[in-house]
Symmetry: D3
Subunit: 282 residues, 6 copies
């Protein structure tokens, strides 16, 4: 993977361990606030990593003091959607069709994380507002540093969050009373509260420790059969959105092919021989 160039504005992509990619949001001078180019770039990066035959897990983090302050509202207010000036198109129906297309496109970029075949671990640190939550709930495992300040900020600019937060949080295994409270009030909450309700699964003392812990998880996943870990992500995501009966049937059809992998033999033999197994590329 390291021989390919991942040159996307506002992002650093590195490969610190075998089969592991790190994607770093890199616009620290603006607290990693997102302009439109950024969500398109993030989607392109994730999609390429999803297709890579060698990458098996991904860490998503942010450069500087914040994970991200969310949407760059100043930039957005110049654009068509949050444009507070006069619109070129004054027919509300036509404008609605344009808004809908824009939101669906924005959502699709963030959903590419969920659709990514490989597990994505996110580390939230510092300011993690608005879009930070939309992004993190599309990731598979969420960690936070002790200094993380989280907020579903959207009601403060007059809108209901529409890039995934309100859709994915009700399925995140988190108290719905709490979800509504923080979404309706836009109050900030910290890492410990996020851990208590289960939004994140660990809190680390600082960013260095956080990156370390996240990379540990990435490396562990990367050491397993990718047939097993990719299937695990797919089947959990599928099951979240279907009845138990449908989930079981889909699982059976999925594993009907996947059990034929040579990885089972490799894993079993390595287990018997107490050595680390290696697995083919995807």
């Amino acid at each position: 993977m390291s021989t390919e160039t991942f040159d996307y504005k506002y992002f650093n992509v590195t490969f610190p361990a075998e089969h592991v990619a790190v994607v770093e949001i890199n616009r620290p001078e603006k607290l990693n606030a997102f302009v439109e180019e950024m969500w398109h770039n993030l989607s392109k990066i994730i999609t390429r990593l999803s297709l890579s035959p060698t990458i098996r897990s991904i860490l998503l983090t942010g450069a500087g003091r914040a994970f991200t302050a969310g949407l760059d509202v100043q930039a957005a207010s110049q654009g068509p959607t949050l444009n507070t000036g006069a619109s070129a198109n004054s027919d509300p129906a036509r404008l609605a069709l344009h808004h809908k297309a824009h939101i669906l496109d924005f959502q699709a970029c963030i959903t590419s994380i969920e659709r990514c075949a490989k597990p994505v671990i996110v580390l939230l640190h510092g300011i993690s507002y608005g879009l930070a939550i939309d992004i993190s709930v599309a990731c598979d495992v969420r960690l936070a540093t002790a200094d993380a300040r989280l907020c579903i900020k959207e009601v403060d600019i007059g809108i209901a969050a529409d890039i995934g937060t309100l859709t994915r949080l009700p399925k995140a295994g988190v108290s719905m009373s709490w979800v509504k409270e923080v979404a309706l009030t836009a109050r900030e909450f910290g890492a410990e509260e996020a851990l208590r309700v289960g939004l994140v699964s660990a809190v680390l003392p600082d960013k260095t420790k956080g990156i370390e812990a996240a990379l540990d998880i990435c490396r562990t996943i990367a050491s397993k059969s990718p047939i097993a870990t990719l299937g695990t992500k797919e089947l959990i995501n599928y099951s979240r959105d279907h009845t138990v009966e449908e989930g079981l049937n889909y699982t059976a059809v999925w594993n009907a092919a996947m059990l034929q992998t040579g990885d089972v033999k490799s894993a079993l033999l390595s287990g018997l021989q107490r050595r680390k197994p290696t697995f083919e590329k995807l």
Copy 2:
């Protein structure tokens, strides 16, 4: 709102803050136990507040020592559904049709809280049995006082809870093992346990503090754009019951119109000018 009369037996409706309504169950001499007139009145009150152009959030509480002891079983046992005497209609199929109609009507009254366009905050205190849980899980944010005694009481009178508890709890972000344990055993549990599992999102030391905390949430919500908060409630409720993909699409269609509100401009300008925004009536 204050000029309209909300004169419903067993309920007090007051407006202690701008855009905020407080609905108090008021049959304290019977621990606020519900007779049929009460659930119809509660539904009428909530539906009127839902349609009010000025109300933006609602606090639901109970007068006296208890939130509610639940269904007034003594009264109910005189009525057709739990009537333990001889039935006028002895054909079990026809009786079943009558029971079904009665349950659906009762459910619809409580569901009017969930359908209410405006967020409803509930404070549970003292005895909060049976119907108290059905009602509270239809609310958006749940708080409890330290003395609250909660119980899914229905199995103790030979029935499975049918007014919403068993339907909404599995989607409340609460441990399912715990849900089944308390629903199957009818054991009482306290506020701290409710907080630990996420059924409520805060515990307050007493009723005065509880009302204060709940009103704080109500006032905060009322200070935001109602387009944003109503949308937030709607989109979370919709997403709870649909796949992530359906939730995202619905969100896009919803916000296609809602982003056209002038509230975004008001909120953004107020943010820049560091003043409190005001928003039009609905």
Copy 3:
């Protein structure tokens, strides 16, 4: 019930209290690891108890030091599904159809616990790996002893768990970030962690105390109207997999018949007379 013989290899079935059955996995010399005969036997036992007119609750536990170490991988690797040798049928499509049929059959055996009309309480102790999780998430209430060591072990043998763990955990009211972390890494976790995230609803100091606590729940359930407890299990399970609106309607149709039971009268009268009610056989 005690007069019927429950003679199934690898299982002990006893009736220590009225209306209560205890099913003990009994292959302690192999840490209760499962061979194919065992999941078929478990299913037969549970199905018989489900149909029994006298049994009202069931405790599932394991003999010896472990609840179960999961699938007996050694045995399985001799069989057709995880067979690491040459396959008799080398057409991948035909092999996939065989795998699918085998998985569906295995799943159906474990699902018989969820389908069992009577509530099933499970006590996890000691090693509780792989299939232990698949089984326990099909149960209604989960308890653990302090020494329990839990693990979603499947990725370590190159497969995604396919007997229910990945399908039911996303609906167990447990942090999804945590679910993915433990499922993707196969790391072991203890009873306290399981309690914190809500996978189990209580931790008991040792197995004796655990059995006692589980039997207490069983006896409490057995003392209630079986019409009420069976309905409670059915309605919670149904609601988990449907929208709130569908759940409410199903509940109304269900209770349309169930409210006609004489148990309501028995329960109400006993309540008034402060004595323990008795209820007819099913």
Copy 4:
């Protein structure tokens, strides 16, 4: 039933046969075009007939030369929804909330036909435009006279039909290619075409014959056990919107109570004795 007064403006309600009601839209001077009061009245009538213990089937027809020309567009264009003048509320988001509430209310009135416990037979004759289709697809059995002129007219006034036509037609067992063609082009089609595609199940030569045929169906239904016919309507409607598996389970729960009716005995004995059975009131 005949002793109760059904006095609703724009409608005649008569009871020409035992257990049978006829609802006639009665604004012939305007081709039965609908003003708002009419859909509310239709809903009230249908809901009362649904609850009547004696009525078992309903015929819906129109007075004069047309079933209905649809929405009274002239009247509607004075109202808030299709008002082509300046709106009192110029915020598109708030206006959207008002439109949504208005559409949902209008839909609910027409849906009361589908929700009506008793089967509704509709006879389409003469002009049957726009709302005529929305109404008829909410009915159970559709007949037409040879002179019927049908049209999904809405695109001709710049809107997508929103009172049920576009939602129910895709589930009416009618060619989807045809549905889209007539909905997108607003072309008129006749009774024979409607029969060929299955939108109606019979074509009668004229209105007199049509009423006769529809009443025949009504009388036949009214001669059967209402437990059987009400269940049949409910189970078909439920199944249309659910998987086969869910439909089967719901059917089993429904009939678990309904099979206990005395009507089975009455019907069986009457069959043996070759006489017409009589069934209790609901």
Copy 5:
């Protein structure tokens, strides 16, 4: 297959062509009316044929003058469900649980036709009442002879059809207006009407021609790759009950394994060489 014995009371099972089984209902002296043993036997036969490595298509027909007159009502009225005498268990709730279990068991027997991996072609001839429709709508392809007399008979004995007719007909691509008319009135209809509405896909002049035509279809299916035909049945059935998006995804997962079959090569080569391909056993 011919060497195995298929010895089930009331059924003849023969193998008139390679890979083709014929199942004949054989109780002609009672117009093939069903007693409980028969639906259990039908299910056993179909399940065995489903698992057979050699059978690829199945013809279902009836001996004598009728396909089946439906449930043997006389026998059923002696049994617990339609028993018109006094019930041993007089508690309506307990009785409902027994009814539910009985209906689900009966349904499961008929559903085994739909679950059968191999396509089932049914020929309806003569009297085809009640259960005849439940059975035929669980089959894949329906043919009728010109003399067939069909009827959804259940309302005539006071019940809503509960073994599949009301659940599967709304998804059979048949006019819903017609479905409701014939289900609510229990009127008889003939083969030509069944063809016109699409319930059957061909009408044959008599039983001999009907068997011939049905066997032709069976033989054609049996000449194709079983991987292709089994997949075709599975994917159509799945899609009927899911959204298009879910259907497409399931199809992709299904064919991910199935495209690996050697049958594709065999079929392609045979096509090029203009000879009949042969395919491995399942």
Copy 6:
């Protein structure tokens, strides 16, 4: 639109009438058989037309004697999916992941027709095999010429159709018995049969008449408000895949914005003034 170049290999795109585009498959020397580049190009063309502010309806047709003979099997058998030679990747699980990705990509190209905001009318003529059906069922209105020869051909090459035929046909309002018969046997059927079952909504004598009829429909649609026709397509497609209740709610949210269009006023005034309305670009 005419000033933009639509230069895609194997396709001609023309604009014979205002707001109308014609897309012609153009590989007549191979009976318009599809190679991979073609489905990607088709998707690109349709997506551009979907976004065009001026195009309001689309005609899809084929150059030469056939609509399309389907997949170019010869070309495909050289590629990775139907490759009958040795695979580079011999691990069946990894191969399955590649197949799945390939099928999903292929499906997405065809689904772009269904997702296209503008109605697509398809004319089937001559050979219309395999992929021809997958494509046409993703279109909105289907016409055929008298000489059309249709066939779900896939089982003849050993596979179950996976690009949409098996998924969309069960929701096309077409007899399911017929669908299964033609899908399982791969028998050819003609235009009249397709009309009888409702797969197409009209049969025209020859290609010239067919194009004329299809263009008539396109022009009619193009003369209506695009807000109305786009909404009609969206709401029918949505409703096909959801319950009636969900369809009605979605419709209300959709039209909440769309009713604000100026097109309603234009359409109503034009109606009163008996002149042809004009509507703004999208």
